[in-house]
């Protein structure tokens, strides 16, 4: 059996990459992801990780080189954040379109301007539609586990789709947390060596990345989407297997004290920790409040989301990202879409908070819940509200 240790979350992600016996890493430094790739570089330098580390000259080249390593059958990892992820944007679509099972950690950070190195979810939300499997981690253990799981899911021949593990920059990436570290043998048993389906090999020449004329482009995209939607089933399978092997359960949507709840707070990422304390306090004060947390973001867990909000009068969705000029936060928009076909559905309110490293405090959760009760009585007054703004 493994051991329980304290470790910085970034280093734990690197440890997961090592235990996944990754073959190739191509990465470029950007705060707050740097500790992950620094640690991986050191592991390669010390001979603890038998991988080729390509220290590229940009994130665009990082993702491009990842396409190359993955296309010859190497288990491939990269990590980035914010501007780096934005610079990868073009190639993210291509990695998924070419069905290359690359795994990426994103230490979520705000996008410029103004430049901010601090956390929010603007970076990944701008990449929502790039065709990647996307998870949000709340804790370090989860970031570690999801990284290992991501390889197994992405490389499954029914899936063959890249996967991104989101961890909040600084508030998760840079904190020291307790970890249950598995033994290498346990990870090896769970995650065998990558067996690619098609590779660039002179003995069996293939053409990868051809031109798709209008007669075929739609069909290829439909096929790709079916693989991504189908990943849902594989994810559940892998999580079941993971639970059996390691004893930790994973679900697409996590619920906390939702029994009999009138108002549900919905959130993604590490802020759920604060949210849980807020829920406990409000419950103690007699308010029927619960929490749902988005872990699986792509493919979107429609059924699990509908089930999670069943019986609630209202859902208060807190997004750490603002869709400029739009209906509010992206997680809220999608939750609303998922609930819209239901004959009986809760009121859904959108709140924006925690942009560019602004703390989301207990008081912010109380404010959100109070406002949601007000909306239940008086009806909605805004498309969305920004919380914690200094006026």
């Amino acid at each position: 059996m493994g051991k329980r240790i304290g470790l910085e979350v970034s280093l734990a992600v690197s440890e997961a990459v090592k235990m996944a016996r990754v073959d190739a890493v191509a990465a470029y430094p950007i705060t707050p992801q740097t500790h992950i790739v620094e640690e991986l570089s050191q592991m390669v330098a010390d001979g603890d990780l038998d991988a080729d580390f390509i220290m590229v000259e940009s994130e665009h080249s990082a993702m491009s080189a990842c396409c190359g390593t993955s296309a010859v059958g190497a288990r491939t990892f990269t990590a980035t954040a914010a501007q780096g992820l934005a610079l990868m944007h073009e190639i993210l679509f291509i990695a998924s379109g070419l069905r290359l099972p690359i795994v990426m950690a994103i230490a979520n950070r705000a996008l410029s301007a103004p430049i901010s190195i601090w956390g929010d979810h603007s970076d990944v939300m701008a990449e929502r539609d790039t065709g990647w499997i996307q998870f949000f981690a709340e804790t370090g253990q989860e970031a570690f586990d999801l990284t290992i799981q991501a390889f197994k899911i992405a490389e499954d021949k029914r899936v063959l789709t890249p996967a991104a593990v989101n961890l909040d920059g600084f508030t998760l990436s840079h904190v020291i947390e307790p970890f249950d570290m598995p033994d290498q043998e346990e990870v090896d048993a769970f995650l065998p060596t990558f067996e690619p389906q098609v590779i660039l090999d002179p003995d069996n020449p293939v053409t990868m990345g051809p031109v798709g004329f209008p007669e075929i482009y739609t069909e290829i995209k439909k096929q790709q989407n079916e693989a991504l939607l189908g990943a849902h089933e594989v994810i559940l399978e892998v999580w079941e297997e993971f639970e059996k092997a390691f004893g930790r359960a994973y679900r697409p949507v996590e619920s906390y004290r939702t029994d009999g709840a009138e108002v549900l707070i919905s959130i993604a990422g590490s802020t759920a920790g604060t949210a849980r304390v807020a829920v406990d306090n409000m419950r103690e004060a007699g308010k029927k409040v619960g929490l749902i947390r988005t872990r699986l973001w792509r493919p979107y867990p429609f059924e699990e989301t509908r089930a999670a909000v069943k019986g609630a009068k209202a859902v208060a969705v807190i997004d750490r990202c603002l869709s400029f000029g739009g209906p509010g936060g992206p997680i809220c928009s999608e939750l609303r879409s998922a609930l819209y076909p239901l004959p009986e559905k809760p009121v859904v309110n959108s709140y924006i908070a925690g942009l560019g490293g602004r703390d989301i405090t207990l008081q912010d959760f109380y404010t959100v819940v109070e406002d949601t009760y007000r909306v239940l009585e008086e009806g909605p007054t805004d498309e969305y509200k920004m919380i914690g703004v200094r006026e």
């Binding site: 080249s61 491009s64 190359g68 390593t69 296309a71 059958g73 660039l200 002179p202 990868m208």
Partner: protein
């Protein structure tokens, strides 16, 4: 330093018969770029992986579900052929070490891109891959403009050439700047081998290509690629235009091996540039004084190259 493993040269009647870029592809009639690729991949042989940038050669060769490639070929995007090739090289290297890559022999990892994909949008990726010393060959097929999108100027378009975004007009001579000297930018990375080549000189091209492929470390080939469509010359003239480019000194053929530049072949008596410019519609608008200026620029560049070669030879 260049490590050459084989000094065998290609000879006229002993050229490999295999074609790795198949006939029946969608290139324009008389395409000089495709001719360069055919020769380059003949020199490369079957143990080759191609990482292609977006461009003419990508779209004409890979209309799904057809492909003109008889060797493994991958296209990712426009500006990153060098980065993709870097990944392929690194991936094969590590998988071989771990006993998980099937082909257990030397494989030529080749990135191909046009002048736009190399001198403009792909320059950063190229520089990065050269600096990191990946064992690969980068080939720029230079047709001196963005031909795939409809003949727009690039930084590799020569002075005075009319393109759709550097048109000749009352106030414009066409391209107003000089062609970016890409091979010399590459040479500044101190890579073990680079060469300029032209498919009008097939043996020279193939021998240079073989040297590039056999050299361990990053190597670079810059191939002159006449474009009848974009240069507006007759479709049966690509080979002749290439020869004129070399004979006038407009496109000098040289190698830089182990840091030493050698003009190869040297043109003792260069033809006047007007012979090269005249058959091409893109230069049609030039006045005698413009042609004089171009002659001056060509002479200046060629003489500088000769001085460099003499200097390197005397070291």
């Amino acid at each position: 330093m260049a490590e050459q493993t084989d000094d065998l040269e290609f000879l006229p009647r002993l050229l490999p018969p295999q074609e790795f870029v198949a006939e029946g592809n969608r290139a324009c009639q008389g395409c000089g770029e495709l001719l360069a690729l055919r020769q380059l991949f003949k020199a490369a042989g079957p143990d080759t992986i191609v990482c292609s940038a977006t461009g003419c050669m990508e779209i004409i060769s890979s209309p799904y579900p057809e492909t003109a490639w008889r060797i493994p070929w991958m296209h990712v995007a426009f500006e990153n052929a060098a980065s993709v090739a870097a990944g392929v090289e690194a991936g094969i290297k590590i998988l071989r070490k771990k006993g998980r890559y099937p082909a257990d022999r030397r494989i030529n990892i080749v990135a191909i891109a046009g002048d736009g994909g190399t001198a403009d949008i792909g320059l950063q990726a190229l520089s990065g891959a050269l600096e990191r010393w990946h064992d690969f060959t980068y080939i720029c097929t230079d047709n001196e403009a963005y031909m795939n999108t409809g003949i727009q100027r690039s930084s590799s378009t020569p002075y005075g050439a009319a393109t759709t975004t550097s048109p000749a007009g009352k106030l414009s001579i066409g391209q107003q700047t000089q062609k970016k000297n890409l091979p010399m930018i590459v040479a500044a990375h101190d890579i073990p081998y680079l060469a300029t080549c032209c498919p009008s000189y097939p043996l020279d091209l193939m021998n240079k290509a073989r040297r590039a492929f056999e050299t361990i470390g990053p190597t670079y080939l810059h191939a002159f690629s006449a474009c009848p469509t974009g240069w507006r010359h007759p479709i049966d003239m690509a080979v002749e235009i290439g020869r004129l480019a070399v004979e006038t000194g407009v496109f000098p053929l040289y190698e830089v091996a182990g840091g030493k530049l050698k003009i190869n072949p040297v043109i003792e008596k260069r033809k006047p540039v007007i012979e090269y410019l005249k058959p091409q519609g893109r230069f049609r608008h030039l006045k005698p004084e413009d042609i004089e200026e171009i002659q001056r620029l060509v002479d200046e560049n060629y003489e500088r190259l000769v001085r460099r070669a003499e200097c390197d030879a005397s070291e």
